[in-house]
């Protein structure tokens, strides 16, 4: 049995992991950069170790420092959160070599699913529908040929990309010629690889993702879907569960398909399969995220479980103790990501939080990484808190989220709360239509 877990992350997800550990009697170690000496995760963990300067490359991404911190604190396991080292197979391997349990999938699974082209091939071989796409593109002439055979509009994607980066929508062969070399150079600079391919571009798709959990005993559970269609520049900002676009029958069918597929590959720990849902109701596999997601709380609320606690139990070798039959979502949950950024220009807005009141009351969950009187440093992700609501119906959840946003006070920095309020007030969102 684990006794102590090191959390190789910061912000709200670090505190999220501390919570699950503490409720189960596990001790926690926070690692932090110098600028995070007074950060919330540093203050609230049982132990805290400074591992480097503010620059993430020299602290939260610096594998030797994190491993050394685990060594001197005699931690049993490492939880990587999301972002930073969470999808880095070398980090998982180094943990294993140093006798630390990595809370996540096996390194080879991270590699399998990390590359988009190999992930697509793997998903296809497992019986999942994949979006029509091409092999890797050789050169600009090959690009024109492949785009035409697929049919415009097409999406030019970087194989090493992710989170919406490295993508271009192209409408014609002229646009292919105009953009191809630039896109190749961008990909090389951003992801260290110039491997590009085309996908059929689906207009006005919904973004649907399924949460899975697998243990070391071969059990796989599919825990329903989340809808994450509300995005800004391919960055999710508001998520909900369940999706209004999924019928019980479709959810049951998809869950069975995914469960079979993931059982075949013996997937370990928490993971998310992302799909596009087109206007005809077809789900096509997009990618697999082999880690806990930012938006995992909406699944927790409607399914009534603690995904981080399950991750830790799985890493510890314990079997999943979930009902044999698929769980059904209970009520409706919505999450708003509160970012420290200007609600109009989206420029980051670090600084000292001079006034703070996070929403409370019935059916409101707050997962935050900041405190009133504390600072939001400019070096990291602007996500400072997640406001999550749970209510019997979607309409009630929307009313509750409007209420929760209206009572949230964050002064000293700017946040995207006004943006969320505009989304929640939008009649199309209320009707569950696709909102751009």
């Amino acid at each position: 049995m684990f006794e102590k877990i090191l959390i190789a992350n910061r912000g709200e997800i670090a505190l999220r992991v501390i919570r699950s550990c503490r409720e189960r009697g596990l001790r926690t170690v926070a690692v932090h950069s110098e600028i995070d000496a007074d950060a919330l995760h540093t203050r609230l963990a049982d132990e805290a170790i400074c591992i480097g300067p503010a620059d993430p490359a020299r602290s939260y991404l610096h594998i030797p420092a994190i491993i050394a911190a685990a060594e001197v604190t005699r931690a049993d396991a490492v939880h990587p959160g999301y972002g930073f080292l969470s999808e880095n197979p070398e980090f998982a391997e180094t943990c294993a070599q140093c006798g630390l349990e990595f809370v996540g999938p096996l390194p080879e699974q991270m590699r399998q699913w990390g590359d988009k082209v190999s992930a697509r091939a793997l998903a296809k071989s497992l019986g999942l529908s994949i979006i029509e796409g091409t092999e890797l593109i050789q050169d600009v002439e090959d690009a024109v040929k492949k785009a035409e055979s697929l049919g415009f509009p097409v999406l030019l994607k970087a194989s090493g990309g992710g989170g919406g980066r490295g993508m271009h929508i192209l409408q014609s062969r002229e646009e292919v010629r105009a953009i191809f070399e630039t896109a190749r150079a961008e990909s090389r600079a951003a992801f260290g690889s110039d491997a590009l391919y085309f996908e059929k571009f689906i207009e006005r798709p919904r973004h649907i993702e399924f949460q899975i959990l697998g243990d070391k005993h071969g059990n796989i559970h599919v825990l329903g879907e989340r809808e994450c269609s509300i995005q800004r520049r391919h960055q999710k900002i508001l998520e909900e569960a369940p999706s209004v676009a999924m019928s019980d029958e479709q959810r049951r069918d998809m869950s069975a398909t995914i469960r079979r597929a993931m059982s075949d590959v013996g997937y370990l720990s928490a993971g998310t399969l992302e799909f596009l849902l087109d206007e005809r109701g077809e789900l096509t596999f997009l990618e697999m995220n082999p880690r806990i997601q930012v938006e995992h709380p909406v699944t927790e609320l409607v399914m009534g479980l603690d995904l981080v606690a399950e991750q830790i139990r799985i890493a510890d070798g314990q079997p999943l103790e979930l009902p044999e039959h698929p769980l059904s979502p209970r009520g409706h949950a919505i999450e708003c990501r509160i970012n420290a950024e200007d609600p109009v220009t989206f420029a980051p807005s670090p600084g000292k939080i001079t006034e703070l009141h996070m929403a409370g009351g019935t059916g409101v969950r707050v997962d935050s990484g900041v405190y009133g009187g504390g600072h939001v440093p400019p070096h990291y992700d602007p996500l400072i808190a997640k406001l999550i609501v749970h209510a019997p119906t979607r309409a009630q959840a929307i009313a509750k989220m409007r209420r929760a946003l209206s009572e949230t006070i964050i002064e000293g920095i700017r946040t995207n709360i006004p943006l969320h309020q505009r989304i929640l007030a939008h009649p199309a969102f209320e009707e569950g239509l696709w909102v751009h």
């Binding site: 110098e34 000496a37 007074d38 591992i51 420092a65 001197v72 604190t73």
Partner: protein, 152 residues
């Protein structure tokens, strides 16, 4: 006392526009202090002449986010990474340095072990060891103060 109100207004404006809580200006026998928010709790701080020193040792001095108290002003060798601090290359051998020893740039001062690797920490300055701040065999974090030195 003759009060230059325009000057005072300018000071108030400066304070208002900034994140500060206090500005104090003294000249000859005049002293002006403008302050916002209320009285001080944490006793004040940097004494006159607290000149920032050049970094010493393999890493810079700690920047803990708080102004150092007067007694903390000085030059330190800090740990460049997380690990276990050792004063000697092996349990049997003697320490690399002792209090009072002179040190020169490039001289090995101690070892910080991380991931089974013994990392020798070398001095970047000339000077004298004034104080050894960590017990051999204890864990140290990044930026932890290991030695206090008087530079020459």
């Amino acid at each position: 006392m003759k009060l230059d109100l325009d000057q005072l207004r300018e000071l108030i404006r400066l304070l208002d526009e900034s994140n500060l809580t206090e500005i104090e200006v003294e000249h000859d026998d005049d002293r002006i202090r403008v302050r916002r928010d209320p009285a001080p709790v944490v006793g004040a701080v940097t004494s006159v002449g607290a000149v920032t020193s050049p970094p010493v040792g393999a890493a810079s001095t700690t920047q803990s986010g708080e102004a150092p108290a007067a007694e903390d002003v000085g030059n330190y060798v800090t740990s460049p990474f997380v690990g276990t601090f050792y004063r000697s290359p092996s349990p049997e051998s003697s320490a690399f340095i002792e209090v009072g020893d002179s040190i020169a740039p490039g001289q090995v001062l101690c070892i910080v072990e991380a991931m089974k690797l013994m990392n020798e920490i070398e001095s970047e300055v000339s000077g004298t060891i004034v104080e050894i701040l960590i017990e051999s065999g204890k864990p140290v974090e990044y930026g932890a103060r290991l030695f206090r030195v008087e530079t020459s």
